[in-house]
């Protein structure tokens, strides 16, 4: 396989309602990525595209990919739409990687979008819940926040995780977001305020849940040769590992078996979980995706070898569960890990320095690509350049990880049905 590089990215600010058409919104995210290359990339040099969006229900428009492909002046070049629930964006990056690595394309534009504002929040949640089994799960009370809440409740009962620990994750992400002009929610919360906020589904309160949003994101992937041409200073990232895991659509069908060890781990480390894992408290797909990506990138000590992660925190609880799946701490110790400061900037592995989905929002098809954009900017040391807004007093340098060598993005679909993980590294 050929080396795959990430050279540029762009996003629109995720907002409750973006009243542009989808096509124009995508064009804005694409233009940002093109402009950041200072004219070194000609439109004609892009050889293929991958389009990602989640739901055909939000706008009653099928084949949106054709409309956007056309609008970006990319016809008649090859393109595909990728869809995989909440992991749509991450899976799109995986498809773009395949395009370049296989030799089918030298330069691939991966772009994603979602406009969720054309329906009310409860209706939107109904559409999202249609991404659960509509014969057996959805009719009972289909609501993804509810499904994740049952996972969190089991985690709490199994391991003693507390609502305070979940609240701490939300507070951390809101605090990071204060230094990111792209974040939608610039709000200070205390743990107590998060706990006392409107209850959505026990134990998840409103500020522990991401918001449905409108937005678009784009990422330009290419060969090493092109990367050197487009970024002569070497300020690009190389994708050195990727992984994809899946799990049963029905959460209740998940097995209770043995933990999948990460590369270099002694399986005996997990003896205490024998016959109980993943159950409904852990994400088998996240563990499997991390295992593949770590093996490919040569990661055997995640705490030492990973400088930051952008994790799919649709819920504070799913971020906590993911700490464990990614091997930042033992299963059951995610709560302890946040208590001890592990995921904070300056901690062992900063998680969601951007503010994550909780503060930035979750326009489904754009989200995983947004994570890629933030990860690229981190690798470039360009958070100050892209995320500051002096007029608002926002200083992006405060969320810049110091000289990162390796960062990870983690994209996640409905209760962990699909997970896509990518490892970004500095070029040698």
């Amino acid at each position: 396989m050929r080396k795959v590089c990430v050279v540029s990215g762009g996003i629109t600010k995720f907002v409750k309602a973006n009243l542009l058409t989808h096509e124009a919104m995508v064009k804005d995210a694409f233009d940002y990525a093109m402009n950041d290359l200072d004219g070194r990339l000609d439109l004609q040099d892009i050889q293929s595209t991958i389009c990602t969006y989640f739901s055909d229900h939000f706008n009653a428009q099928l084949l949106f990919d054709s409309l956007t492909q056309d609008y970006l002046a990319m016809c008649p070049r090859p393109s595909m739409r990728i869809e995989g629930g909440g992991a749509t964006g991450g899976l799109g990056i995986r498809a773009g990687y395949m395009d370049i690595a296989s030799g089918l394309s030298e330069l691939c534009l991966v772009y994603g979008f979602e406009k969720m504002s054309e329906v009310n929040t409860a209706k939107g949640n109904e559409f999202i819940a249609l991404a659960s089994d509509t014969d057996f799960d959805y009719p009972v009370g289909g609501f993804y926040s509810g499904y994740y809440a049952t996972m969190a409740m089991r985690h709490m009962s199994e391991f003693g995780t507390t609502p305070e620990q979940l609240a701490r994750i939300a507070v951390k992400n809101y605090e990071n977001a204060f230094h990111n002009r792209w974040a939608q929610k610039h709000q200070h919360w205390t743990v107590e305020e998060v706990l006392n906020a409107r209850m959505i589904s026990t134990p998840l309160t409103l500020p522990m849940v991401c918001v449905m949003s409108d937005g678009a994101a784009s990422l330009i992937l290419c060969t090493e040769e092109w990367a050197k041409k487009l970024r002569p200073k070497g300020d690009y990232a190389v994708i050195t590992g990727l992984g994809c895991g899946t799990d049963t659509m029905r959460l209740g069908d998940r097995p209770r078996g043995d933990v999948i060890p990460l590369p270099g781990e002694d399986p005996a480390k997990y003896d205490q979980f024998k016959g109980q894992w993943p159950g409904v408290h852990s994400f088998r797909a996240a563990r499997e995706a991390a295992r593949q990506a770590y093996a490919m990138a040569g990661i055997t000590d995640p705490l030492q070898q990973i400088d930051f992660v952008e994790v799919h925190d649709a819920y504070a609880s799913s971020e906590l569960q993911t700490y464990e799946d990614m091997g930042f701490c033992l299963y059951g110790e995610g709560g302890k890990w946040i208590d001890e400061g592990g995921p904070y900037i300056g901690g062992q592995v900063p998680v969601n320095p951007s503010g994550g989905l909780i503060a930035c929002g979750h326009p489904v098809g754009a989200t995983g690509i947004m994570q890629g954009v933030f990860a690229l900017w981190q690798m470039q040391g360009a958070m100050a350049k892209h995320c500051s807004d002096p007029s608002e007093g926002i200083d992006g340098s405060k969320i810049q990880i110091e000289n990162p060598q390796r960062g990870i993005i983690h994209s996640h679909a409905g209760t962990g049905t699909y997970i896509a993980v990518h490892v970004f590294e500095k070029p040698e």
Binding site: A122, N125, G141, G146, A152, R154, I200, S201, D253
Partner: protein, 147 residues
């Protein structure tokens, strides 16, 4: 007449609705049995894995399964009290959504818990199945209550 919400940019009303003729196919027996106050699961003829909701083909080894009657008493594996929901379920909030462990069943069964105080439900709580008399041919024809 089309309703206009805003003029700059122009925002107008659009309507879309559709009816489906949906088949429960090879798992129809599950829904039919609920009318007879029975909870039907399947067991793999090769590896013995049990499935509720049922599957014709085993989700572990791919072999064919056979039907059997699942027990009607079990305990709460996990739950959540929903105070918000998808639009279709908003009139029902708050309600308890739970996964139930049943003896001899490898999977967990998603259901509502009714006739139980929102503060009274707990992990491990013994529960028993209840059935609707006038069925609507959905999984809502069964629910659980404290045993």
């Amino acid at each position: 007449m089309t309703h206009v919400y805003n003029t700059d940019p122009l925002q107008v009303h659009r309507h879309y609705e559709i009816d489906y003729i949906h088949s429960y196919g090879e798992v129809s027996e599950f829904f039919i049995a609920l009318k007879k106050k029975k909870l039907m699961a399947t067991r793999c003829l090769s590896c013995g894995a049990t499935w509720l909701p049922p599957r014709r083909d085993c989700g572990k080894c791919g072999a064919k399964t056979e039907w059997f009657e699942a027990p009607l008493q079990g305990k709460v594996h996990t739950f959540s009290v929903l105070h918000f929901a998808a639009e279709a379920f908003l009139p029902e909030v708050p309600f308890i959504l739970a996964y139930i462990e049943l003896p001899g069943i490898d999977t967990l069964f998603l259901t509502k818990i009714k006739n139980c105080g929102l503060e009274d439900v707990y992990v491990g709580m013994p529960v028993k199945a209840k059935f609707r008399r006038l069925v609507d041919w959905t999984p809502n024809d069964i629910w659980f209550e404290p045993a």
